[in-house]
Each structure stands twice: as C-alpha cells, then as structure tokens.
C-alpha cells in the first residue's frame, strides 16, 4: 500500500504491526464476513494515520478483500490515507484528530454494559495523544465508571510530528504505566515488538477481575523490521524510494517467513 503512494506513515505501521497482529490473531473476537456483528470486540483506531497498518491487519483477517490494497489513498477508494468509519468496513471510528478515541471508547464501553454485551472495547492510541487533555478526561471517566471492558493500547514509539514524544509532554517508558495506575487503571508496559510479551499482556488485560479499565503501554520501534529505515532520524512520515521497496520486502521476507 505504501508503495503505491511512495511515502506515508510506514514507520508507525511497521512499529505497531506486532501489536495489531496480537489484537486480530490472538485477542479479539470478530467475524470476518460480518464486521458489524453485535458480539464483536470493538477496535477503535484513534490514530487515523495508522490506517495503513490496520488495513493490512484487516486484509489478513479477511475483513477486507486483498485486491483493494492497490487502491490505498486513491480517489474513490474505501481505504483512505487516514482511517474513517464511513469509508471502511471494520473501521469503528473516524480517527485522525487526535485525542478522540478513548472518549468514544468510554461511551461504547458504557453502551455495551447497558446492553449486557460482554465484548471488549480496544482503543489503540499513540504516545503523542497523551499530550491531549481530552485523553485524560477519558482516562478519568473510564476509571470513574469502572470500565473493565475497556482496554487502551498505547503505541509508545517516542515519535510525534516535531520530534521525540519525550521531548514534548509524555513522561516516557518506565514511568507511563504509573501515571495510568494513579488514575485508577490497571496498567503495564511491555516491549511492543516482543510478540510473546504482548500476547501475555493482552491475556492479563482480558482476564483481570478487578472493575478497572486496563492499559497496555507498548514500547515499539518505528520502522521495526527494516533496518535501513529504523536507522533514519526522521521517521514520522517516511518517504521510501522505489528501489528501496524491494530491499525492504526482501528483508521482511527473510526475517519473517510465512
């Protein structure tokens, strides 16, 4: 998909791919052919610009047809550059304006409880969104309403548009979980590129019995899996030259066989 455009939020997509893989192929309940199935777990991508990664996950999951990959970001495509609910089956919310997802997740979690529906609401948000005050309104609201059906997944890659997140407002790895805990959540930090660790964290989050919302802070590496991209200094928005795509794909195929 990124190759079609030649550029994009590829760093975030590669960095969060492991977490999305665990979400869609280990943790979540859904029916590929019925994205509106009432019993599904809801996955809210507030970081709309990570859509490229979610499309890939949903294609693998069979929610989206594989041949639509080529339309990514094009006119009349169902796969716009930033994730929007009205465009894409399986996309629960319109993200992109950051700091929205967790608040909507609170409302959906409340709604599911009203309906006595035992589905989980997952909200994947970014470290940059921890700077948005609205995120903390939602953090407080979720704790106040004891939303044990809500799981926040923070993709902590330490990159936002102007540079490292830790140079802005976020406190960073090692301290972030304590902040959420202080707000009344179960929270833990994991290496978001260690599949086994992520699987274990998701299992704990789903199986806790305390009436508290759950947060998994996933420390990830931008452009994970493609060394020559990982080394780049500016990875918020990556331009990849045509000849580099082949190199990247070759490396991914070697490192991660079927």
């Amino acid at each position: 998909m990124g190759e079609v455009q030649g550029q994009g939020y590829i760093g975030q997509a590669l960095g969060s791919a492991d977490v999305l893989a665990v979400s869609y192929f280990h943790a979540m309940r859904y029916r590929p052919g019925d994205p509106d199935w009432e019993g599904r777990d809801r996955f809210l991508l507030s970081i709309g610009h990570y859509a490229i990664a979610l499309y890939a996950a949903m294609i693998e999951a069979g929610i989206l047809p594989e041949d639509e990959i080529e339309t990514y970001g094009m006119d009349d495509s169902r796969l716009p550059m930033s994730g929007m609910a009205a465009y894409t089956p399986g996309m629960e919310i319109t993200g992109g304006s950051l700091g929205h997802g967790l608040g909507i997740a609170v409302g959906m979690a409340l709604g599911l409880k009203r309906k006595k529906n035992d589905a989980f609401v997952y909200n994947m948000l970014s470290d940059g969104e921890l700077g948005e005050g609205s995120t903390w309104e939602a953090v407080m609201g979720a704790a106040a309403w004891k939303l044990d059906n809500l799981i926040a997944i923070v993709d902590f890659n330490n990159q936002q548009a102007d540079g490292p997140t830790m140079d802005a407002l976020a406190t960073g790895p090692g301290t972030e979980a304590a902040k959420w805990q202080a707000f009344g959540w179960h929270a833990e930090e994991v290496d978001g590129n260690d599949i086994a660790a992520v699987v274990a964290a998701f299992d704990r989050a789903r199986n806790l019995t305390d009436p508290k919302p759950r947060a998994i802070i996933c420390n990830t590496k931008m452009c994970k899996g493609v060394p020559f991209l990982e080394e780049r200094e500016i990875t918020h928005f990556v331009r990849v030259e045509p000849e580099e795509w082949a190199k990247a794909l070759a490396h991914l195929d070697t490192e991660m066989p079927e």
Binding site: G103, I104, V106, G107, L110, L112, S134, W145
Partner: protein
Amino acid sequence: MTIGPNSRRTPAHIARPKPAERGARTSAMIASLDAEGRDTIAAPFGHALVDLAKTRSDIVGLTADLGKYTDLHIFAQAYPDRFYQMGMAEALLMSAAAGMAREGFTPFATTYAVFASRRAYDFIVMAIAEENLPVKIVCALPGLTTGYGPSHQATEDLAIMRGMPNMTVLDPCDAVETDQATRAIADYPGPVYMRLLRGKVPNVLGEYGYQFELGKAKEIRPGNDVLFISSGFMTMRCLDAAAALEKDGVSCAVLHSPTIKPLDEATICAEAAKGGRLVVTAENHSITGGLGEAVAGALARNQVHVPFRQVALPDEFLDAGALPSLHDQYGLSVASITTRVKGWLND
C-alpha cells in the same frame, strides 16, 4: 495604534455614578429568563425527557457537571441508571455520547452553550457530526441569558453550530416549544444542537395553538407593516413589541423560525416576497452568523429584494450585569425593539 489595557472599559480610577443612582439592577447567575408576569412551566426539557424515557429505553442522559443547571436532574431523579455524570469534561461528554450512540442509544448531552460550542467543538464535529450520529446536544445559557459576562455568554453559538455539516440547530421560544422540540428531536435520526431555556420557562405559544415542526417556520401573528422573523425567546419579545406597536397604528406580523438550520427558506422567502413590509430579523445572538444572516442569505439567493433590518447582539464581548439591564443595553428588550422599528419605518 497603542497597545494597552482594553479601552472599552471605564478605567477604575474614573468615578462612576453609584449603581443605585444609575437605576442598576442585579440578577442571579442562574435566574430563569425574566417572564415579565407570564405563566411559567418548570423544567420543560427535563419533564419531556422523562416522559419520552417511559416508552423509549434507548434514551440516556449525559452531562458535564451541569445536570441541575440544564434541567437534566429531573431525568436523573426519574432514571438514575440511565443518567451519566461525565464530570467537568466536555470533550469526554461529547465523545462518550458519540460512543453510546454508536451502540444504539439516543444520548441527550447537556452543558452550557459556551462549553459545547467553544470548548468541545472538535469533538462534536469529528465524533458526532461527521458520523451523523443521533446525539442531542442541549445547551443552557444561549446568547445573552446570563449576566456573568463572556465566560458564560454564548453569543456566537448559532454561528459556530450552523457552520457544521450535518448539524441541525434549534432555538426554541418557550416552555411549550421546548417540550415539543425535545420530543421531535428524539425521533430525528441525526445530530441536533438545541438551545435550552431552563428553570421556570415562560409559557407563550400555548395560547396561539402552536405546534413545533422540525425545519418549519410558522406565522404566529399576521400584520401588514412589519414582518418580524425571529427565533428563541426573541419571538416572545417580538410578540410584545407587535402589541405595543399596534397601539401606535403599526401592524406587525411575527414569523417564528426555531429551526436555524436547515432554515425554512421557502416559508421565509414566501412571506418576505409578499412585499410592502419591513423585514426585521430578531435573535438572541451576535449579528454575525446567526438567524439574521441566515435569512439575509436566503433572501439574496432567492432574489427577494426587500427592506431588511436586524435586531441582534453586537459583534462584541458583552458586559456583565443584570440581565434586564443588559437586554436594554444591547437592544433585545421590547422597548428597544419598539423604538428602533419606529425609527426604521421613518427612515
């Protein structure tokens, strides 16, 4: 140009007449709209919502620490398990309402008009309006309905909400209409912003046999010299101004247009096009971007060329003070409307 303190205000060192010498009044922050001797009905929105909830299990109420001040406490008392206190967190209020709407509920989210329109704008746009979700945003203290000054005066809320695609915008007149409109928007499948008159709300339209219809402007009173086109409580002010002007031989029609968006252009243009009348819009809102400019745009687009004037608040941050004084000062009082209409007719 000099840079310094806001010169609009009287400097503190300049002596001003004592308040009593100026005939100054005071009014409580949460006073109901001055009913001037009319009958009132208590908390029409809250009671209508309770009534609706009896048969509609999808209705839930949310607020951001202003349940008591938006009459939602009536609903909260009747249906405590369907009431969601979101705390002093307007972004969460709107986002959570959107989330509940996504799960099939019909949320009524209440706060003050300033906090919805100014603070929560992006959350209303992206979570509610862009998704066309049936969230009903019901907001107290619209326009100039408090003397607390600009922190609480939403003089531009209609302009802000009109600019938002998908949003239906309502400015009801009185208790009768607040009750009827609450029931109508519960049935409407999209997002609605409704201005709220709360507390003891005047009962005006009942005597006219009025029935609210979403998107419709209705003639409340016929007349030959002036056509008032008004919304909100300014319709009752126009009715009173029309009665006063009648004594001076000026015949005024009042066309009430509670739906600001989508505006009932057909009725408004047809009434204006009858000709021979001064068209005067009247609204509890800034002259910028509210009912008056909506009507002016409709008339211009439809080639209806008529004499046209606006009764509206100035494009300024307003003073604090007692509400009746402020309504005199800024031209929303019956006396002010009457005087200005006579002047315009003699222009």
